[in-house]
Symmetry: C2
């Protein structure tokens, strides 16, 4: 499996609202940085971040507009991430993100770039 396929599989784990699969796809010491927010480190931190959010969602859809792999194996994406919440609210975030992989094919680093105010105004 190439790294684009790995990134696509990871996105499907979010759409499947499967925190265990999300956690399994990242490295034990993954570095995950939503750029306008404090970064987090470690598989367990990612699981704890994803699980409550996904539990409150009915449906998750990440539209991938573009995906490309650099010559050294990083995967760059342009996406719109939709979260249809159980409250009836939909959160849609316009985002670009980078995934870096380790030798085992796990996500070692993940950085997502978006406007925090756009996200927060929909969360409130």
């Amino acid at each position: 499996m190439n790294n684009i396929a790995r990134a696509e599989a990871f996105i499907r784990h979010w759409e499947d609202r499967d925190p265990a699969a999300i956690a399994a796809a990242v490295a034990e010491d993954v570095f995950y940085h939503n750029i306008p927010m404090p970064p987090m480190t470690g598989r367990e931190a990612v699981r704890e971040f994803a699980a409550p959010f996904l539990e409150n969602a009915d449906r998750v859809q990440w539209d991938v507009h573009y995906i490309a792999e650099t010559t050294n194996g990083a995967v760059l994406t342009e996406r719109t991430d939709h979260f249809h919440m159980k409250t009836g609210k939909t959160i849609s975030v316009r985002v670009m993100g980078v995934f870096e992989f380790n030798a085992a094919g796990e996500i070692q680093k993940w950085r997502d770039y978006f406007d925090l105010a756009e996200f927060q105004s929909q969360m409130s």
Copy 2:
């Protein structure tokens, strides 16, 4: 010249603080969207946006962390854009952006993703 080379040349035009070269590299009807801001359309709008900003800068440096081209020719970048202003202030924006090219090799669409508050807090 492939599209990665075109995107790199475009970035150098910003570093050279050359609004004419920037304008020449984009399509007449370019669509330029700094995602958290209103989009603009047209070569002249891009020139009018870039020129006063670059006139007030002593030095511009865009660090490209990653660059990759999709199978259909779009170029995705992860960058930190530094603007050293004549006031002595430095503005550094963490950004990811997409460039789409037309058949003439001009930039037809450009979308940059960043946190608006991060940019504005440094501008003020």
